[in-house]
Symmetry: C2
Subunit: 276 residues, 2 copies
Amino acid sequence: MQRIESHACFGGTQEVWQHESGTLGCTMKFGVYVPPHARERDCPVLYWLSGLTCTEQNFITKAGAQRHAAEHGLILVVPDTSPRGVGVPDAEGYDLGIGASFYLNATQAPWDSHFRMHDYIVHELPGLIETHFPTNDGCAISGHSMGGHGALVLALRNPGHYRSVSAFSPIVAPSQVPWGQKAFATYLGDDREAWREWDACALIANARERLPLLVDQGDADEFLTVQLQPERLQAACAAAGHPLTLRLQPGYDHSYYFIASFIGEHIAHHARALSA
Amino acid sequence: MQRIESHACFGGTQEVWQHESGTLGCTMKFGVYVPPHARERDCPVLYWLSGLTCTEQNFITKAGAQRHAAEHGLILVVPDTSPRGVGVPDAEGYDLGIGASFYLNATQAPWDSHFRMHDYIVHELPGLIETHFPTNDGCAISGHSMGGHGALVLALRNPGHYRSVSAFSPIVAPSQVPWGQKAFATYLGDDREAWREWDACALIANARERLPLLVDQGDADEFLTVQLQPERLQAACAAAGHPLTLRLQPGYDHSYYFIASFIGEHIAHHARALSA
């Protein structure tokens, strides 16, 4: 594992690391923000999953999250959005293949040999983080759009693993919307029963843990009505008695300007759960 | 003048506008952050000048300045770093031509017909801003690297125009360092007397207004010893009795991670001057 960037930032360091991932069969990069507190004590970790087309760079350069992580003493871990590089299959379009993993374990060829982002983020990456950084045993997860879907699904599939979860503009019901249907048909095949295991709205019905969900959604989001449909999450949570705080933020769109405006509140939310 | 981007951001709006510049003879873009206060009252303006290779996008996406502008009620105006587009001369290298105006008025052909960024930023752009946005009569200026040079030089050349000035990692003595010597020889010709009019350290000796300078400089900046040399600014200010707060920030480099870490303090500095 090799550090390829390091920048002083709000008293800590914003770093980028590169390593060979056994789970994904390729070289992966991830961003880590190490807050100043980490010089003196072990810190909890917030994993951030980015959206379609992103790499590990988008969130670390645009969200302004380091300021809040420095304030609360959280380590931020920001993986890439898919396997990438020589031998990794890709497809036409920004919404499939590289940059568009949907954070699942693919079952269909040729995707199944590399596209195992669930296992990478839940198992392989935390092992590396715990070995190389001063972490305590608390972790949380958040993300945006496809990464908001990823955060919700990883938390719902892995009860006990995350102390808190939040999302910005998540794809809450991928089985029901074009982005998700295209990806799931490709990565998981045509059996729609298999899709339910990677769909937050479907998982909520049988969730073993009632981890409260914090979701921010801009009401001027250009993907709101076709791809995001937060009312489906509201209905699923209401039916299952699952705690949800869904905030429709007036005037906000799908961009990092939206994330930057509210990331401080999300980090404070996670910091509360991680220090409890 | 046409608005080509608008995003809700920290309760205000981050916008990008495009217009035909008479001064520069080309189409120009600039970013404007309009804080929530602007719905109710006129606000002062902070102009930000970016560094080599940047456009109007770098600062507005990476610095996290909107949070602080929203807090203090400042309008942020972020021009592009040079004329750009069909007919605008360019040169080999990132440090000359497009993206590398050095914020001066060129006197040498073929640059003199377009490279008049001083006049654009001091005269043409403020006219547009005052016409289209709810401004009061206070303005300030800041910038990074080549733009830090620009901020210092524009403030020193135009006494009374700016209420406050600050810079991150500025090129304080362009006549003495490779970046500046290459640009000045090209844009201003070989007469080094003419260079003194665009060199902060030279201008300080004869400054008519003792506007205090706030400068932050990372001590791990990769350009520190060859291109930046803040000790020259310190010496020039000491010799002239010009007020300077120069802060060497330990461990910080030349990146936007440095700017993001301290932009809040700079905006607070300008807000104090603009409300006084």
